[in-house]
Subunit: 377 residues, 2 copies
């Protein structure tokens, strides 16, 4: 075997769709000594972590915890716990992650009724209402609040209301939303929601914060069939995260990652949610103006733009992959490619969490201008 | 909300069933700056990581990678990829984790044929052979090589051979085995095996190394039904870990945890697998002798003892939980309780990974003696 060495990551400014830059303070927390997952001191930290997640999600939901795996597992946890074989779920698809929701539904032996919108457009409420009317027994309405693949935000409050009016549970993906734009779990009446640690929360990837409201917990308790995943069965996970007295061992928690998420949420609370939202918005506007000055255009219409994830149209005749490679190699800046039907058509510039600063906006604008040979007008 | 502070873990010596003590060098690797999961530098590190895992597992299996979640998810990955609804699986249960394997099989809509042995005993080969004969179409034989709940090791080579002779895939849990005792994937002809990062590999919890041999990959390709978990679908995960050229995004890899596992495996290779096994064995013997000197007995018969996980019989009249609490509070040492039917009857003293040193053996013996009021004879 060749002789390998300790891995020293190159210096990068992460302005893609995630992971976002992780502040040194969070990396320091990550590297604190590992202790046991049943240690009383660790369990005290878990209780704080749940409280901090409730702050971030704006909810009083008792069942609020981080799933011990990345956002994709958070999505799967939401589906496998709430949906049973034979159920019907209305799934909105206006990007790649809506398509992944469909995969989850189908693999459960349930039926996915798709509501499709063009990638980059917000979800059309009228189409959703029509689908819910056409499928009166639908168990859930599943949608992506902040589409990481396109940079479009949809009206989560209205979608949750539609679900409620039609007796369906709302199942919300806000992997890219949480911490960057308003996520109002209680005000929306969202029944189930999940996010990711590595976007606007500024922690490393590997955890998926999740929250279930009362109706979702009731659905979990009323299941006719066991949850198909043992690892993601929230009935069991809860015994560890919420157990009083006899806290039951379920799986070994990812101790150090939880230290990091705790620290990231502390930092978010110190800044304040509203201040974090305002910062993400201000830096987005700075980027928008700077892009316009070098003749680049945002792909998403103004009312639906996510400030933390900016889809930029690739100009005609430009080799988008070559531009990304030069940004990385010559400027140490990572931006994202388009996914799915947007591959080759957009770049994705993330200004997420600690990455959302005026300095970073200026740096990526200058680098893009240099690579494309464009000067601000 | 109360005002929380950065979490500062108390000083602990981790001598329980895992996590084991994480060396500073691995914590330092964990805390290196996060980079993107599609960054060419990161992908180079992933290739090294796979090679290092093949070293640890003693295999040339192409499909060898860390699942992005704890050992329980590694178990689930093995089952959901290899077993389909309607299949029959012979499951050996001589501890808690055999019971968890049964849960996985049942939730898949498959049939689990149980081969039960008493907790703490190795798996009885004759019973397994009889079960395989009685169920000639069984898809797999699933067993726990190193039972974390009891400290017993079973004859993995013989069990894999029995599976092969009866046309069943062998599906092996070596969460606690890997790095501490011989794990010989190719020599055994094990078809599927998984482990955990937080035991004898000395990394933090949160990753599950997994390896599939040719027959397992063939079974995966010949499936009649989709894998019920999208997140754990190895057909998709492989496109990210093994993709040549166009590496397809599947989920966001837990970047920093992978840095840590890479470093842990480098350290294992520097020491050498055989040297690590010998160290675990020598410290186990030191512990055994020291326990005998204070009148404490190991629970597992000599031929089946795991050196890295020592089940100690709780003496009559001793409040085992009070002893563990005093070890933690007064001596800063964590040891484990019994699980399942062994709750209250044993302690579990782990000497895993970096925890397996003569100094740690002496420290836990001295502390146990002090708490129990026993002096070496």
């Amino acid at each position: 075997m060749p002789s390998f060495r300790s891995f020293q990551p190159p210096s990068r400014l992460l302005l893609g769709p995630g992971p976002s830059p992780v502040p040194q303070r969070i990396l320091d927390a990550l590297a604190r000594p590992t202790i046991g997952h049943l240690d009383p001191a660790f369990i005290g930290m878990m209780d704080e972590l749940k409280e901090l997640l409730r702050y971030a999600f704006r909810t009083g939901n008792a069942l609020t915890l981080p799933v011990s795996a990345p956002g994709s597992a958070g999505m799967e946890a939401a589906f496998v716990n709430l949906v049973e074989p034979g159920d019907t779920v209305v799934v909105c698809r206006n990007g790649v992650f809506g398509g992944r929701m469909r995969e989850n539904v189908v693999r459960l032996g349930a039926t996915a009724v798709m509501v499709d919108d063009a990638f980059g457009r917000p979800i059309d409420l009228d189409k959703v209402e029509a689908a819910l009317k056409a499928h009166p027994g639908a168990k859930a309405l599943a949608f992506v609040h902040a589409e990481t693949s396109t940079g479009a935000v949809s009206d989560a409050a209205a979608l949750c209301r539609l679900a409620r009016e039609h007796g369906a549970l709302s199942l919300v993906d806000s992997v890219t939303g949480l911490g960057g734009i308003p996520v109002e779990v209680d005000a929306w009446g969202a029944d189930a929601i999940y996010s990711g640690s590595q976007k606007c929360l500024a922690a490393p990837p590997g955890l998926s914060p999740l929250s279930f409201g009362e109706a979702a917990v009731a659905a979990l308790k009323a299941r006719r069939t066991p949850v198909q995943s043992w690892f993601l069965d929230l009935g069991l996970v809860m015994n560890y995260w919420q157990g009083v007295g006899a806290r039951a061992y379920h799986h070994t928690a990812p101790i150090n990652m939880l230290y990091a998420l705790h620290e990231a949420l502390l930092m978010l609370r110190e800044e304040g949610l509203e201040a974090a939202w305002a910062r993400h918005r201000a830096n987005h506007l700075r980027l928008r103006d700077g892009l316009a000055a070098i003749g680049l255009h945002l792909f998403v219409e103004e009312r639906a733009r996510l400030p933390q994830l900016n889809a930029v149209q690739v100009p005609d005749g430009v080799d988008e992959a070559a531009v990304r490679r030069r940004l990385l190699d010559e400027h140490g800046i990572e931006i994202g490619a388009g996914l799915g039907e947007l591959a080759g058509r957009i770049w994705r510039i993330g200004l997420m969490g600690a990455g959302s600063t005026p300095e970073n906006v200026d740096r990526v604008l200058e680098a893009l201008g240099a690579v494309l040979g464009r000067k601000p007008a």
